[in-house]
């Protein structure tokens, strides 16, 4: 998958648990798990905005493009 979600790295840097983040950005822990495990097919701008706001980071810190070999 060319787009990698590095949410767990950012969460570890900010020392925030999945449950706390899910509550802060108002999504279910199950949906956060889908996002964290790179199983999501799309991310809404509103979700991305909430994550960036909660983790005080840029979208580029969470999303990474990796070229297919």
């Amino acid at each position: 998958m060319p787009i990698i979600v590095n949410l767990d790295v950012m969460m570890a840097k900010r020392k925030i648990s999945a449950g706390d983040l899910a509550e802060k950005i108002n999504i279910t822990p199950a949906n956060l798990s889908i996002l964290k495990n790179n199983k999501a097919k799309a991310v809404r701008f509103s979700t991305l905005e909430a994550i960036c706001s909660a983790l005080d980071c840029q979208p580029g810190d969470i999303l990474e493009f990796v070229k297919d070999e």
């Binding site: 999504i27 949906n31 956060l32 889908i34 996002l35 199983k39 999501a40 097919k41 799309a42 991310v43 809404r44 979700t47």
Partner: protein, 150 residues
């Protein structure tokens, strides 16, 4: 008016009809020999008891398979599982059942030309169900994409 109540009642009625047809299809297994003999006696044409019995038995088996899949489909609908690959699979099987009946009646056309009408209708219904199946598959893909949009 309680819409939910009407929906559940409608589903229950459809399930009742499907089970009724399933019972009739099951009973036909024992009745087909009598029906074919009776048909031969009133038709006044060349006797085709064996051909007719084979065709009717094949169609009865196909009908039971189709009705069973219809029942599975209704169970999934009552569980609110609408646009899934499982349901698309059920509709696909029912569609192939229609084509099966069309093939059986197409063969029967060699003995009774009127069977061509039944074959045509069955093939047409099969075609419509195939389009419904394609639509369900597309809807299942869309639902999955929507479910995985966070």
């Amino acid at each position: 008016m309680n819409i939910n109540w009407t929906k559940e009642r409608s589903l229950a009625f459809t399930r009742f009809l499907t089970i009724s047809f399933l019972v009739v299809a099951g009973a036909l297994i024992f009745l087909i020999p009598f029906i074919t003999i009776w048909y031969d006696s009133v038709s006044g044409k060349d006797p085709i008891v064996i051909v007719l019995s084979v065709c009717f038995y094949l169609c009865d088996i196909i009908a039971i398979v189709a009705l069973w899949n219809l029942l599975r489909l209704l169970t999934n609908i009552s569980k609110q599982e609408l646009f899934t690959e499982k349901n698309a699979g059920c509709v696909r099987v029912i569609s192939w059942c229609c084509y099966g009946v069309a093939a059986v009646f197409a063969v029967l056309t060699f003995w009774r030309l009127l069977a061509l009408i039944v074959a045509f209708i069955a093939a047409f219904v099969g075609l419509i169900l195939r389009v419904v199946k394609n639509m369900l598959t597309a809807a299942a893909e869309m639902r999955e994409e929507n479910d995985y949009t966070i």
